[in-house]
């Protein structure tokens, strides 16, 4: 893999979380868990890693008497996700080029 690949987004679940958050303003923890299909603990771990990199913001809000966790992608996170996706597309294109050249 090249230097353009973002190490924070390299983990598949983190990439999927970023891909989902890139499509919405914010999403609730339980919905992210359903879409990405990971356990609570795994999601918490990945959200911590993304938060440490300042790629996401996490806020708590009460709804129906229960505390909910809402997550959104920061501008830095959006930029990193776009760059990572571009790098992945370039790698795939380069691989296809190499196969075609053989």
């Amino acid at each position: 893999m090249t230097a353009d690949i973002d190490p924070v987004l390299h983990a598949p679940a983190r990439l999927q979380i970023a891909a989902m958050l890139a499509r919405v303003d914010d999403a609730e923890f339980a919905i992210i868990k359903d879409v990405v299909e990971v356990s609570d603990s795994v999601l918490s771990k990945h959200l911590s890693a993304l938060s440490e990199a300042a790629y996401i913001t996490v806020r708590k809000a009460k709804r129906d008497g229960r505390q909910r966790t809402w997550v959104s992608l920061t501008p830095k996170g959006r930029k990193a996700f776009a760059a990572h996706m571009k790098a992945l597309h370039e790698l795939v294109a380069a691989a296809q080029h190499a196969v075609a050249a053989e």
Partner: protein, 155 residues
């Protein structure tokens, strides 16, 4: 995981996320109509006396807050009209319809915040176009998700 070193598999994982998201992202006709109603109210606020205009604008602000709250409660997420690049033509159409409504009112009314009977059909026109734009927005948003889910990449 197997695809950590395979960019194609990583892109497939993103496509799978988009597929799952596409299944969840649907907005009802009343939800689209609510967007149209708020824009129409915004326009009509120019054609009513100032005290009523203030009430109308407060209604619009309250409506925006209610819509975002209701979307989050129902879907567990919120998407604003600007956030999808692929769906922006529909967003711009809604803005254009609203600006056209303001322009028509400025032309039809004797002055700002002065009533004209033409205010009703103008607001109705804005309501219809913005509601249609909102429905179109959802179609464009879904088309982009579907395109990405099929592996063609998102915009």
């Amino acid at each position: 995981m197997a695809y950590e070193n395979d960019p194609r598999a990583a892109l497939d994982a993103v496509a799978q996320t988009d597929r799952r998201l596409a299944k969840r992202m649907h907005w009802s006709l009343p939800r689209h109509a609510a967007a149209g109603l708020l824009q129409a109210l915004c326009v009509i606020s120019w054609a009513v006396p100032i005290p009523l205009a203030i009430v109308t604008i407060l209604l619009v602000v309250g409506g925006v807050v209610w819509i975002s709250h209701s979307d989050r409660k129902r879907d567990g997420m919120f998407v604003n009209g600007w956030s999808s690049r692929a769906a922006r033509p529909a967003f711009w159409l809604a803005i254009a319809a609203t600006l056209a409504g303001f322009a028509l009112l400025a032309w039809a009314a004797p002055g700002l915040h002065m009533w004209t009977p033409l205010g009703v059909p103008i607001a109705l026109g804005v309501f219809v176009v913005v509601t249609a734009s909102s429905i179109w927005w959802e179609r464009l948003y879904h088309a982009d998700l579907d395109r990405s889910a099929s592996g063609a990449g998102a915009t």
